[in-house]
């Protein structure tokens, strides 16, 4: 088996732009084009253009597509309207999180069609799980990872940029909705989703159209400050927005209730049956969370300048009370920030005396509610 990294349809574009590339889940992806801080600030104040072609698309069709997805995922897929999207998760039989997902409903009731978008690092796991779980359902699971390139335009200028390139009704397109349309002459699924905390769009297109679309977006966006943006700033953007990342805040060792995301689990579904994979374990986890609160996911803001990293201990009174799951210098706040799981007793915003063990030194941190950053609407 070849271990050469996979290249996206935009690989030549990234190299022409002089991007610093990095291996990410087996893909060679742009980490940054210049300064990741400048890219971050551009997305917050103007707009950034991302290549997210490493994400894993899986199409589900067939008469029993809804029943199958309700059985396979923790959410109530039947309540998603046509053209809408939903954040959900797939868990194993023990309730452990296999991945967090966005499910787009594309087809009407007479021709059910859903697109499940998995994280690059978990796409194969999700595909295998869905394929196995489809047994007994009149539904088809199709690996569409190679069928799409994915471009994301994120930031306050993104609606204006996109409007100049499409006749699609963007004003009618709500957050977490998607519709088929044409952008710069390229057929695209236009979704108002993203992972940056900003308004923005994700455009699923054929790989052969990716370069043309990238060029058109850059041309339309450059006058208003659109810049290419890499995975490094994507991570600081999502961190400021308090959004979980698989492998950091979400793992197979945690149930959605342990991750503070129990609300995504729907025990009652619009299906023939309310049975779904992990149901019994999740019901027990929900009860545990009520009686013995698990560690809570909180935000930490540094008093000093040293940056907490994933895996560092959170301490209070010389004792370990939690663990950092993600940390980075926040370009928006101008201070290091972190997301951490901490014992419930120390989780309230404003709790005094909390620190992070940074290579042996206990640096003081303020406990805050997530997110660190919320855009003005």
């Amino acid at each position: 088996m070849s271990t050469a990294p996979r290249l996206t349809a935009l690989d030549a574009v990234h190299r022409a732009l002089g991007a610093t590339m990095t291996d990410f889940a087996g893909w060679d992806m742009p980490l940054r084009y210049g300064s990741e801080r400048d890219e971050h600030i551009a997305v917050r104040t103007k707009a950034g253009l991302f290549d997210l072609s490493h994400m894993g698309e899986i199409t589900v069709t067939g008469p029993e597509a809804v029943d199958f997805l309700n059985f396979s995922l923790v959410g109530n897929i039947g309540s998603i309207g046509v053209g809408r999207a939903r954040y959900t998760m797939i868990v194993d039989a023990d309730g452990g999180i296999l991945d967090d997902l966005i499910v787009y409903r594309l087809g009407e009731a007479e021709a059910p069609e859903y697109m499940v978008v998995a994280n690059a690092s978990n796409a194969q796991v999700v595909l295998d799980a869905l394929t196995a779980r489809a047994d007994g359902f009149d539904a088809e699971v199709r690996d569409d990872r190679d069928a799409y390139a994915l471009l994301a335009v994120q930031g306050p200028e993104s609606p204006g940029i996109l409007k100049s390139l499409t006749d699609a009704d963007l004003d009618g397109l709500k957050y977490y909705a998607g519709l088929p349309g044409t952008v710069a002459g390229v057929p695209a699924l236009i979704a108002r989703t993203g992972y940056t905390g900003e308004d923005g769009f994700e455009l699923f297109v054929a790989p052969g159209d990716a370069e043309k679309l990238w060029g058109a977006l850059m041309e339309a966006g450059e006058p208003v400050g659109l810049v290419p943006a890499g995975l490094s700033c994507r991570d600081t953007l999502r961190l400021e927005a308090g959004m979980p990342l698989y492998g950091h805040e979400l793992t197979a060792e945690l149930t959605p209730f342990d991750a503070g995301l129990g609300r995504v689990v729907k025990f009652e579904k619009t299906s023939q049956s309310d049975t779904f994979v992990g149901r019994a374990a999740l019901a027990a986890a929900a009860e545990r969370a009520e009686t013995a609160p698990p560690r809570k996911l909180v935000g930490l803001v540094a008093a000093g300048r040293r940056v907490p990293r994933a895996g560092f201990s959170v301490v209070a009174d010389g004792k370990v009370i939690g663990e950092v799951t993600s940390g980075a210098p926040s370009p928006t706040l101008g201070k290091p920030i972190a997301i951490a799981y901490v014992d419930a007793a120390h989780a309230a915003p404003g709790t005094e005396g909390v620190g992070v063990d940074i290579r042996g030194t206990h640096e003081p941190y303020e406990v805050v509610a997530l997110p660190f950053y919320k855009r003005q609407k």
């Binding site: 610093t20 940054r32 300064s35 990741e36 801080r37 300048r305 940056v307 980075a328 210098p329 290091p336």
Partner: protein
């Protein structure tokens, strides 16, 4: 990117200026600064501290990682760059100039530092 001819370079990507009246200046190369990404925190050796060639004497923190800072030379630190402590991005914007890190009274100069051309070949840039 070009590495100034008048400097010498370590394989840990520090540069060392010529020794003037016993004192030399230390920084990291543009190649190293680019590899780190945006530097956001610099812990530099303090005045009076003794640094040893090839050993760690501080750390540079960037968006994604923290890297040890090695000294290319042995001696006593006579100045650390407070401008960099205040504004670590100087390491990225001017690695060979305003982004210098510390000055050291040289006690022992290693013989294995690289010339600019050797370093360019070593680092590939």
């Amino acid at each position: 990117m070009s590495n100034p001819q008048q400097l010498r370079y370590s394989k840990e990507h520090e540069w060392l200026s010529a020794v003037v009246e016993g004192v030399a200046t230390v920084g990291i190369t543009e190649h190293a600064a680019n590899a780190l990404g945006d530097v956001v925190f610099a812990q530099l050796p303090e005045v009076g501290e003794t640094v040893t060639a090839g050993e760690t004497c501080g750390e540079l923190e960037s968006t994604k990682s923290v890297s040890d800072l090695y000294s290319p030379v042995t001696g006593e630190v006579v100045e650390s760059n407070q401008d960099v402590v205040e504004d670590p991005s100087l390491v990225n914007s001017a690695p060979f100039e305003g982004g210098w890190l510390f000055k050291v009274r040289v006690a022992d100069e290693p013989q294995d530092l690289l010339s600019a051309d050797e370093y360019t070949e070593f680092s590939g840039s």
